[in-house]
Each structure stands twice: as C-alpha cells, then as structure tokens.
Amino acid sequence: MQLIHCPWCGPREEVEFHYGGQAHIAYPEYPSALSDESWAHYVFFRDNTKGEFAERWSHSSGCRRWFNAVRDTRTYTFLKTYKIGEVAQ
C-alpha cells in the first residue's frame, strides 16, 4: 500500500499506478542485427535485483505519464521517482 509520488501529481495511492518493470532497457537500435540470444535477452530477461531497483511506473489512473523510480525491493520503499529522460542521482 505504497504512496507513490507521481512526479507531476504528487503522492497517490499505489492502486492508481501501473508497474512497468525494469527501467532504462533501451529498445535495440538494430534488432535484426542481434543474435537470437541477445534478442531473447532483450525480450524476456530483466534484472531481478534484491535491493535498490530502477523501474518504470505509469500513473495510469491519473495523468497517464510514465516515469522512473528507484525502489528498494526488500522494503518496497520508494527512494526516488523521476521523469523519463532524467537520471536518478
């Protein structure tokens, strides 16, 4: 039951948000140039960090903006949320 800080709307209940998994995974520039294995890693493999984890969220029931967050997966505490394109300090 986290209170998640949307970078625009401010703190809102977790139920207003949609989880988007690991952040900062770029779509490969030339997918066709990738081996089957590298492609599979892009499609299916994500880090599963125990600890601080950069991930994407969308304020789906609010402003509909995607943003990034750093959250501790042990405690679920949000350490930071930041807009797409920004970097977590």
Binding site: W8, C9, G10, R12, E13, V15, E16, S61, G62, C63, R64, R65
Partner: protein, 187 residues
C-alpha cells in the same frame, strides 16, 4: 446547419433517483458540454499557452467554460457555447503549429455535479485523495479513481461541499449507481 437530431444522455434514466437523494446530497447530470483534449509541448507559450493552468492538478475558468490540467502537456478544454467540432477545430488550429494535438472528446465523458454538506463524506467513501477544503479547494482538480472507475474530479467553492465529476460515458451508469448507493447512509 440547424441541428434536428436529439441528444440522449447516458444518465437519463437516473433523473428520478438523483431527485430522490436524501437531504445534504445533491447529484445532477450537467448539460452537454463540448470538450477537447488538447496536447501542447510543455514549454509552449503564446496566448493559448498563457491561458492554460500549468500547475499539476489545477483548473481555470474561461469565458465560455473551463480548462483542466490533465498532464504536463495535456489539458481538457470545456466549452458551453462552442459546438464540439468548432471547439476542436479552433484548438487544433492553435495546437498544430506547435506540434500539439486537439481531439474532440465531448461524448467521451459526462459531467456530474455533486453538492451538499455530505458531499465530501460521500466521495471519500471511494476516493483516496485528500478532499479537505484546505487541500482540495476551488481551482484544484485531480484525475483519480472513485469507486472502481476513473474520474476527473474538480473542486468548486471554498467549503469542500461542491464538486464536479467527469467520468467516461460508459462508466456513468456505474458511477450513478455507486453514488445513489453511497447516499443510502444518509437516508
């Protein structure tokens, strides 16, 4: 072109249920409003840019309606006087050169007015944001959930007893049902 077609409202059949609500709660379906979803880059300026509420969660009134902040580059523009197509066309002319967009969404949502001394209580039964008048006062808005549906909620007045709710038309029946049911408490 004179309009000869009749409009029909998704909550037509709720008129009597709304009328029979207990004292302290009033719910009214508001008349048809033209609405356009306006997108402009965050940094856009110019006359339109200046008229837009910039702060997240705000709305302002305009000569013929109001403008609600929906996102950092998104607004809902409501007009009581311009027709849906006209409003979209006007705004699209402004948006296009700025690489923005304007989409007629007049029938996408309907507007309800919820008022009365129990109004805030009633809404806090299904809305998780802080509706206290010190926080959510005239000029504030929020896109959030009410019961199990998404809404755009506008605070009117200073006393925390006057709200406008914009809800997707297909969910309007659910929301009406939800409000009427919530009001049972005050009967």
């Amino acid at each position: 072109m004179a309009r000869t077609l009749q409009r029909s409202h998704p909550l037509q059949s709720y008129e009597s249920a709304f009328a029979a609500l207990p004292e302290g709660i009033s719910v009214k379906a508001e008349p048809y409003l033209s609405m356009t979803d306006l997108r402009l880059p965050e940094d856009v300026d110019g006359p339109l840019g200046k008229a837009l509420p910039r702060e997240p969660g705000g709305w302002v009134s305009t000569a013929d309606g109001l403008i609600v902040w929906l996102g950092p580059d998104e607004w809902l523009v409501l007009s009581g006087s311009r027709g849906p197509g006209e409003l979209e066309a006007d705004l699209r002319d402004l948006a296009r050169p700025n690489q923005g967009s304007a989409v007629d969404v007049s029938a996408q949502r309907i507007s309800l007015r919820v008022r009365g001394r129990h109004a805030r209580d009633l809404l806090s039964g299904g809305c998780s944001i802080d509706l206290h008048p010190s926080v959510f006062q005239n000029g504030r808005s929020a896109q959030t959930t009410l019961g199990l549906t998404g809404v755009v909620l506008l605070a009117l007045g200073a006393d925390g007893d006057d709200f406008r709710i914009l809800v997707r038309s297909s969910f309007a029946g659910y929301l009406a049902e939800w409000l009427v049911d919530a009001a049972t408490e005050y009967r």
